[in-house]
Amino acid sequence: MITFMNNSDSEEEPCNERTSLMSAESPPVPSYQDGLPASEAGEAQAHRKRRTGGSRSPNNIADGDMSDSGVPVRESALENEEEELTLKYGAKHVIMLFVPVTLCMIVVVATIKSVRFYTEKNGQLIYTPFSEDTPSVGQRLLNSVLNTIIMISVIVVMTVFLVLLYKYRCYKFIHGWLILSSLMLLFLFTYIYLGEVLKTYNVAMDYPTLFLVIWNFGAVGMICIHWKGPLQLQQAYLIMISALMALVFIKYLPEWSAWVILGAISIYDLMAVLCPKGPLRMLVETAQERNEPIFPALIYSSAMMWTVGMAKPDTAARGPSRQTWDAAEDGRENHRSPSHTDSQMSETNSPVPTRPITSFEELEEEERGVKLGLGDFIFYSVLVGKAAATASGDWNTTLACFVAILIGLCLTLLLLAVFKKALPALPISITFGLVFYFSTDNLVRPFMDTLASHQLYI
């Protein structure tokens, strides 16, 4: 449809930004994923403080907490504790990411299976100009490869453009761009989605009600994503816009192009994040140098960060017990403040040397969330949605892809805990997902169908 093709111009931009940021996070926040220099700086500070604390201990008779004599022993013990905490809270963060990824996929699969609109072929985006309705297999393959090349180059150009804008501090332009794209996502795509769902279930809705609903949904969404809002509402909105974007991709990308694009984009992701001159890596490093968070509209974060002002005054009065710290934290939990903007948690990493450090560290670890780029959500959902749409109506394939993606995510987070730097979240999951999709569709399906028809169980 022409209208979609015209709109797709600006609609593609948000997708490009979103795909470009994988597993990136706001640097000053010593969260689990990337931002390794920040967390390292924080930990280095803590180490230094501990070391001074340790060296002071022989002189400090009144200090009952320092029972260790050897400084190196204490340091290695602390390192072990840190590693153990890393692993323990690593598992928690894996679960914290499983839930939103699963929710997004469930929304996409449910929509695909019930609303016919998203599986009908109604034209293609201008980014994939070559049609796949060709008679020969070779021609079709060639067309899909060409489509992929065009799409990937568009994404690369957009990413480089974004990085340049960021480097030359054109913040207003970037913010305007992001606001425009999320406006379109929240209003236009929601309108279309709601329209199709209502059509499928044959529910009538008058225009005033529709206007009211969509206006409220969109306005609250804009506020939550770009400004302040309750964390869970913000997470819900991010999941919804990822799902909407994924549905658009599933509808408008032709079959073979979609699979080739998925493969190519995970390779691109790998290179963009790990190569020294990769645009994403430069983006993350620039953001870290300037101690600024990366744009809130492009990252899903699983935890809130507390601002410094609240944490500092307590360090002096922290002698009594951990309970006061906990109570203060709980009190603060009731007044949620915005997440991503300036939290210099790394500066709060100056614990009183005479206290046992673990309690503070535990709290800090709990507040550190994991951040995942929205592009990752979108492409995971595209894979699972395509599997649901095109796998001959088979649920086994969808399920197999889902499990494969989650296991890939687990492995990526494990690597993150080991390497402690920004990692691409797409390659491992998408590879597993693709392998399992093709093998389940072609190999497992006939086997399971034959077993089921004879009612045999393995």
């Binding site: 072990n80 649920w395 093998s439 086997f447 077993l451 393995i458």
Partner: protein
């Protein structure tokens, strides 16, 4: 779940190759190939269970080495339970989900002369398999921990027996009844291995602690 999926993948690969390499019109051969496929799949599943045990063992050693008081936050028995349940859930979902999706649509069960109890028996069979996988997980891991090879072989033989009994379908007496009996056996065995006893059970049921 992932490991079960991998074993399923490999076994269907083998079966697929065998089927493609053989004559599709030869009925007894196809049936024979299917039986071979099922048995091979069972053996592969148990092999993957063993591989998973090895992986978890390494993970526990790592956790113990890093922990401050020398014991890991999750015990091997808990891992055995979770592993068994993962296997069972994946196996059950794969068996049932297409059936459930078809059950939503219009149709009559058994209109071409097949059994009318198809859905019901499938549901019961899936349930018994999920339970069995959970118990086998506990038994298997316990056997690997204490090097009791006969426990491991018992699990493998039980799995083969249950799968083999499904060849009697649609004669459901031949498949459901032995499976449930085996499940009861495996349940009591796993319960005893996990430290339960008749006394514990009685105290639990009478709500005395």
């Amino acid at each position: 779940a992932f490991f079960w999926l991998m074993s399923l993948l490999l076994s269907s690969l083998i079966w697929f190759i065998a089927v493609k390499a053989s004559d599709p019109r030869d009925e007894p051969l196809q049936k024979g190939l299917l039986i071979f496929g099922v048995m091979f799949s069972v053996l592969l599943q148990e092999a993957f269970r063993f591989l998973y045990y090895k992986l978890l063992r390494k993970a526990i050693e790592g956790l113990v080495a890093l922990s401050e008081d020398g014991c890991s936050p999750i015990s091997i028995q808990q891992m055995a339970y979770v592993a068994g349940m993962g296997f069972g859930l994946m196996s059950g979902t794969f068996s049932m989900i297409n059936l459930l999706a078809d059950a939503l649509g219009p149709g009559t069960v058994g209109i071409h002369g097949d059994s009318q109890l198809y859905f019901l028996t499938s549901a019961f069979m899936t349930m018994v398999l999920i339970f069995l996988h959970t118990f086998w997980g506990i038994l298997f891991f316990h056997g690997c921990e204490h090097r009791c090879w006969w426990e491991i072989t018992a699990v493998v033989i039980m799995h083969l027996a249950v799968s083999g009994s499904t060849f009697c379908n649609p004669l459901y007496m031949g498949s459901l009844v032995p499976s449930y009996l085996l499940m009861a056996t495996a349940a009591t065995w796993a319960y005893l291995l996990s430290g339960g006893s008749a006394q514990n059970l009685r105290r639990f049921l009478l709500c005395k602690f």
